[in-house]
């Protein structure tokens, strides 16, 4: 039996790594990957807790919804990022700073 804490800690590590990624990566797509890491942490938590919810199965279903939604969100985000690439020839968030102040 794996203790709940361990799932949670793994999730926390993944989440923190995701945070690190979104701050440091120089590429919008990699930032998106960081976000996916964070989402994975959440799913992990959900399914871990879902073990104690057999009838409603909330944890697992929530996890499924998250995965599906992440796909949709990634699709939208990618479209927007590709649009940026088309207009600015870069997806480095540091290079695109015309809106400021």
């Amino acid at each position: 039996m794996i203790p709940l804490q361990h799932f949670l800690l793994i999730g926390a590590i993944l989440f923190s790594l995701g945070l690190f990624a979104i701050i440091t990566r120089k590429n919008a797509i990699q930032i998106l990957m960081g976000i996916e890491l964070m989402l994975n942490a959440s799913i992990l938590n959900m399914v871990a807790f879902g073990k104690y919810d057999k009838i409603d199965n909330t944890g697992q279903i929530f996890g499924l919804f998250i995965i599906i939604l992440a796909a949709a969100a990634v699709a939208v985000a990618l479209v927007i990022i590709m649009n940026l690439y088309k207009r600015a020839q870069t997806i480095d968030p540091n290079q695109t700073k015309s809106l400021r102040g």
Binding site: I2, P3, L4, Q5, L8, L9, I10, A12, I13, L14, S16, L17, G18, L19, F20, A21, I23, T24, K26, N27, I29, Q30, L32, M33, E36, L37, N40, I43, L44, V47, A48, G50, K51, Y52, D53, K54, I55, D56, N57, G59, Q60, I61, G63, L64, F65, I67, L69, A70, A71, A72, V74, A75, L78, V79, I81, M82, N83, Y85, Q89, N94
Partner: protein
Amino acid sequence: MIEQIIFYILTAIAIGSAAYVVLSQHLVRSVFMFFVTLFAVAGLYVFALADFVALTQIVIYVGGVLVLLLFAFLLSSKDALDAVAEIPSGLLSANRLPAVLIATVFFGLLAYIFCNIDFQNLNWITSAQASGNVKSVSDDTIKNIGVNLMSRYLLPLEMISILLMMALIGAAQIARKEPKTL
């Protein structure tokens, strides 16, 4: 016992690959390493008795999302790929210092809280255990998910259908070429 060992191996793979994804200076490698992470995490789901979710993770995430990411990445980052060596490294460069700070503090915070909670004695878990509302390895999760989706979670399901429709339309609209007649 073997269960634990596999779990921790998977954990190590997941965290290690995720760290590589996050820290690597080599962009393409980091993307590919993300495959590994997702697989490993899917493995962890299985250990949480969520085999269907793990499956979905592999099918949708790895098969769909990540491929999409990779395509986009390759499409957009030709220049970036060429200039791999130029990406600055080191702890202090760019936003790394605040990033390290934020990530560690956040993790510390979470860890501190998780370690201070006795999950086994939470009311809802004890009552679930008492009423037998706990999954066992042999349970048929897929059926349960199916029924629940169509009954209890019907509204969210409908919602997400509209959401996906909208995302589809929007993404298609933005991605499609503008007509010549401007």
